[in-house]
């Protein structure tokens, strides 16, 4: 009899994410084991503990998921787990802290799709702002867009130092070219948005980041994407289900369009689902992070 598939879900936070639990179950894993408050230095031992109790055939039915809220820590944990493998005792590992990798990959790919379809544009060379840019989804959005060639500014609403530190750290780690900015008021945002081509809104759920008045200041905005599905939504005038709908409040930007949270969420869902399923289907162990997520998101949206 085939062994049941087991997903060991490691999380450095006090709780695993119920979102990821639902996703893992729905992707076809038979058994989910939550591990919370996991420290980076426990990952090696947990990994080796998991790989040696099943034969190489059984190991294929075993995988790790790494959650948490921190991009860098999740990548460190993914690397620690990968290093702990002892081939042929080796299992697949997917990192998706706060769902940030798949959310960010879906957001950037959705925006890229609209940019191509409605403006004939490319991410390459575009000026992009990431509001909520120092949170997990914001950082991942910034890094992915930057690696795709956009000129990305991470915007923090509390301090420019935070944004600077984050940009520097991730540029060093992933060779991205992020810059940083601070926007504490509508005035600050209005100034920033003037020459932006793309806006990513990855701030906290239930917080409106861009009002109609701010959008009014945008002179060359082409696409704005929002991941907040809890009212009030992040960008005034973009509805949750919008996908490539005219951004009515950006009156000074010709043909600006918006992508709402459920449209992004739909792609994110397919993406996370297919990455979890990849781990069940694969013959060779896979180590999946934000880069793989973006490749897959482009595949889903058929972006070439």
């Amino acid at each position: 009899m085939e062994k049941r598939s087991i997903l060991h879900m490691l999380d450095p936070m006090p709780h695993n994410s119920p979102f990821d639990i639902n996703m893992a179950m729905d992707a076809g894993f038979d058994v989910l084991m939550p591990y919370s408050n996991v420290k980076l230095d426990s990952v090696h031992a947990l990994t080796q503990d998991a790989i040696f109790s099943r034969s190489p055939a059984g190991v294929k039915r075993t995988a790790f998921f790494i959650g948490g809220r921190d991009f860098g820590l999740a990548m460190d944990m993914l690397n620690a787990s990968k290093k702990a493998m002892v081939p042929p005792f080796e299992v697949s590992v997917l990192a998706d802290p706060s769902g940030a990798f798949t959310t960010a990959a879906a957001l950037v790919a959705c925006v890229e799709q609209q940019l191509k379809a409605k403006h004939g544009g490319e991410l390459q060379g575009c000026k992009a702002l990431v509001f909520g840019g120092t949170g997990p989804v914001g950082i991942a959005t910034g890094v992915i867009a930057s690696l795709a060639g956009a000129q990305v500014k991470l915007v923090d609403h509390l301090s420019v130092e935070t944004a600077e530190d984050v940009a520097k750290e991730y540029n060093r780690r992933f060779s991205s070219t992020l810059s940083s900015a601070f926007a504490g008021s509508d005035q600050d945002k209005a100034l920033l948005i003037q020459d932006a081509d793309i806006v990513f809104c990855t701030a906290k759920a239930g917080v409106q980041v861009l009002s109609a008045a701010v959008l009014n200041e945008a002179k060359q905005l082409k696409v704005a994407g929002d991941v907040n599905a809890v009212p009030p939504l992040g960008i005034e005038g973009i509805k949750r289900g919008d996908s490539g709908v005219a951004l009515v409040n950006a009156v000074n930007s010709q043909g600006a369009i918006g992508v709402g949270a459920l449209a992004v969420g739909d792609v994110k869902y397919q993406l996370q689902n297919s990455m979890l399923q990849l781990m069940l289907a694969t013959d060779k162990p896979l180590y999946l992070d934000f880069r793989d997520a973006f490749i897959k998101a482009r595949e889903i949206l058929q972006i070439k």
């Binding site: 695993n16 994410s17 119920p18 979102f19 639990i21 729905d26 058994v31 939550p34 919370s36």
Partner: protein, 302 residues
């Protein structure tokens, strides 16, 4: 393909109750996922995290269970969970801290049955003493009985604490529509003279009502004890009592013991866990719903 049933089980304690985990699996949930040491302030985040990863259709196959040990905290968390929903992204939630809601419901439903069967009467207007009633089971039983029309007095060792608990029961759990009184344990010899029903919900191994006090109760009809560990909470009522007469009661009172209550409790919890699965619309379940299904079960059984 139908998605598997997932129950997210939240507790403020450092462990889930294995009892509740067994119950959830036996009711048909495929996966029971524990979240321990949950702070009430984390409920909104966890709920919103849970609701957005499944379609509205499959959210029917997703639920949240709230455990813990504190009745008020569990009710607060239930309210927070309900407020955190973003329709149509909404799932059912069931609060049963320490199993207290379903245990209390089981006890009150069993008492109601005995009142009907042996005394041809109802809970309406009955004087009830909830001995050791400041704990989770006592609180829930007091509220359920008061909502069914009984005059309930929560008895505790310290009058002040009993009064505080009675106030929470009246105002928070009863929405101010019921009035639950308080009394000190040292005065129970007085209160027992007019008591129709006694609930014993104290800690295991403490006798709350002596044989002497039972003999001195002229209108006592039913005495129920949730304690399964000897010595019994009510003298003469053991775990196996299920409507049999209590020796030494001049008024012909009958006893209900822990196993009889536990049987109804089991059914109530099982039914509510199933209701979450079967319901077409999200449901928010607590002691009132526990009492509804406990009554249904007791009635059907006859």
């Amino acid at each position: 393909m139908e998605k598997p049933f997932i129950l997210h089980m939240l507790t403020t304690a450092k462990n889930l109750s294995p009892f509740d985990v067994n119950m959830a699996m036996d009711a048909g949930w495929v996966s029971a996922v524990p979240y321990i040491n949950v702070e009430p302030s984390e409920v909104q985040g966890l709920v919103q995290d849970a609701i957005f990863s499944r379609s509205a259709k499959n959210l029917k196959r997703t639920g949240i269970f709230i455990g813990g040990r504190d009745t008020k905290q569990a009710m607060d968390m239930l309210k927070m969970a309900k407020r955190a929903m973003v329709p149509p992204f909404e799932v059912s939630v069931f609060a049963d801290p320490s199993g207290a809601f379903t245990t209390a419901a089981g006890m009150v439903a069993a008492v109601e049955r005995e009142l009907a069967k042996k005394f041809n009467t109802t809970l309406e207007g009955k004087n009830i003493l909830a001995l050791g009633g400041t704990g989770p089971v006592g609180q829930a039983a007091a509220v359920i009985a008061a909502q069914a029309g009984a005059n309930v007095r929560i008895i505790g060792r310290q009058l002040e604490k009993a009064q505080h608990v009675a106030d929470i029961c009246s105002h928070e759990f009863g929405d101010g529509k019921i009035t639950i009184l308080a009394g000190a344990d040292s005065d129970k010899a007085e209160y027992i003279k007019t008591a129709d029903v006694v609930f014993a919900t104290g800690a295991a191994g403490i006798e709350l009502l002596s044989a002497e006090l039972i003999a001195s109760a002229p209108q006592l009809k039913v005495a129920a004890d949730v304690n399964a560990v000897p010595p019994a909470g009510i003298a003469g009522v053991d775990a196996f009592h299920d409507g049999s007469p209590i020796n030494g009661s001049a008024s012909g009172a009958v006893g209900i013991g822990a196993l009889a209550i536990g049987n109804v409790k089991y059914q109530a919890q099982n039914r509510l866990l199933k209701k979450m699965i079967e319901s077409d619309k999200p449901v928010y379940l607590h002691f009132e719903h526990a009492f509804e299904v406990a009554r249904e079960y007791v009635k059907a059984k006859g």
